[in-house]
Symmetry: C2
Subunit: 306 residues, 2 copies
């Protein structure tokens, strides 16, 4: 770790500085949580998202809808070329952990990303047009599924991709059942209202290792303890077809999965067209386009017939 | 892995051969599950232990009783010398993961191991006198608690310690709350009725690394899948003071713990005095006495006043 004196001064319009100081800081959120007016979401759901930073639907898609997606995801996994940059393998094995940019690789996944049921939620939360910042399929194998430590996605997107403000939402669509025991997504309710400014700096080409194992932009124990004491920890469970929308700054992670039950999900990140990327706040080279789209900011058009 | 031709022949009286063949095998249990006559345990609890291979009590000890033990465990952790062989640290840190032989280090823990409520259960399950094969305190820290992969304790005790038959029971006493999310003990009900004969051989001084990370005596995916399909997976939860008795061959493990909630438990292994250790079935040097007691086979005397 370098001393404060040798570190670059925070950009004056960087409202969420991170990896710039020697000590972690817990900053207040500077943006609304829901950017759109009431319309589609019931008032209770708006209140839940506003308060907790996520909305979990146990049965968002039917078994038939999800079966078609699962087949497509399996096909992508089987047929993907392991040496493509979009394909991330597990540390210590050749098993596919994630496939990025999957809405461009698969017309089926593209249509899923523009499903009206999803688009209606996204439009209300982001208040208008949205584009896809990142898409992927995650495969968490049985027996040897690795943990993913606590993190705010926004922290990474801000520092490494130059996403200026908190006006993005992630949508995770489960293609397998989530139980408490097979390494489910865990979230800290209310954590989206704070920004954990992490210590240290970002090394060059951090993304190449961070997608396998996070080492920078890691929240500190004191901040995590405080957030979890205030909000607890929740792990939404449900059958295949369950969906979680979570705010870009909601602290989340998952433990290892040693059960025989694999986990698979499709993951879309929607960012507001008013929140286009700038230069990374780390001052370094932007991550590649399959991880952080910075070429296509056209608002998504919902599919008409699903 | 060596070929069958170069491996030692299984001892003719080794009814549970493991790490001797190139292919995993799922063998039938050759021993009773409960060795004693009915007396102390209610009939339902005997049936549960017989069927599932474990008995979980959500509130075995009172908050006051357990608070005294927790203080003693904390004191042991703080004051133990990290370079003692009984003290095992986490991979990659100096945090204490386990302290072995703790009933000899602490009169308080010694008395706990001979608590009448525990002794009554142990005596009925093992059918007569029992001694302590192994004792320890386990500390699973918050944030960075590592996973412990699936294993049958008996497989290790048989191969590496020379425990001849399945006539031992483990008692795990929680000193902190167990939730589904903080890396709880997971068990496969019914798995104690089979013996998963693992592939490969045992390297010399395996215990030095295996207490940190298991690499030999690891059950195969097919056997684990079959056991979990038949019996499911359970993770008993409860407050501090909850206790699980589990049969020496019950398949168990735990995922990593990234929550801020640490886990701490005291762990006693009771073996029947009729089941004394022999030479290890691996043919190698026995593990040291603080891991596998082979000098004191005197039956335990329950404390009179608790």
């Amino acid at each position: 770790m370098t001393s404060s004196a040798t570190q670059p001064l925070a950009s004056t319009d960087d409202v969420y500085p991170s990896r710039q100081y020697d000590e972690p800081r817990l900053l207040e959120r500077q943006d609304p949580v829901i950017h759109g007016k009431p319309g589609y979401l019931p008032e209770l759901q708006r209140r839940i998202y506003e308060t907790k930073g996520f909305l979990a639907y146990p049965s968002f898609f039917t078994a038939e809808e999800i079966e078609a997606i699962r087949r497509e995801a399996d096909s992508q996994r089987v047929h993907c070329e392991r040496d493509r940059p979009e394909v991330i393998t597990e540390p210590g094995s050749n098993d596919v952990r994630s496939i990025f940019d999957v809405h461009r690789r698969s017309p089926t996944i593209d249509r899923l990303s523009r499903h009206p049921k999803i688009q209606n939620v996204v439009t209300e939360i982001l208040g208008g047009g949205a584009y896809i910042h990142q898409s992927r399929i995650n495969f968490k194998p049985g027996f040897r599924g690795k943990e993913f430590y606590w993190h705010s996605d926004f922290e990474t997107w801000h520092v490494e991709d130059g996403m200026p403000r908190m006006r993005a939402v992630s949508c995770s669509i489960s293609l397998t059942p989530n139980t408490e025991l097979n390494g489910p997504l865990m979230l800290i309710p209310g954590s989206h209202k704070r920004f954990v400014s992490c210590v240290g700096s970002t090394p060059k080409n951090h993304f190449e290792s961070s997608l396998k194992k996070q080492e920078y932009g890691v929240p500190d124990d004191v901040s995590l303890t405080r957030l979890a004491e205030e909000g607890g920890i929740e792990a939404p469970t449900g059958p295949a077809g369950s969906v979680v929308f979570f705010e870009c700054n909601t602290m989340h992670g998952s433990a290892s999965n040693i059960t025989p039950m694999p986990r698979m999900n499709v993951f879309f990140v929607y960012n507001s067209v008013e929140n286009k990327l700038r230069e990374p706040f780390s001052g370094q080279t932007p991550r590649p386009g399959h991880i952080a789209n910075r070429t296509d900011y056209n608002p998504l058009q919902p599919v008409e017939k699903v």
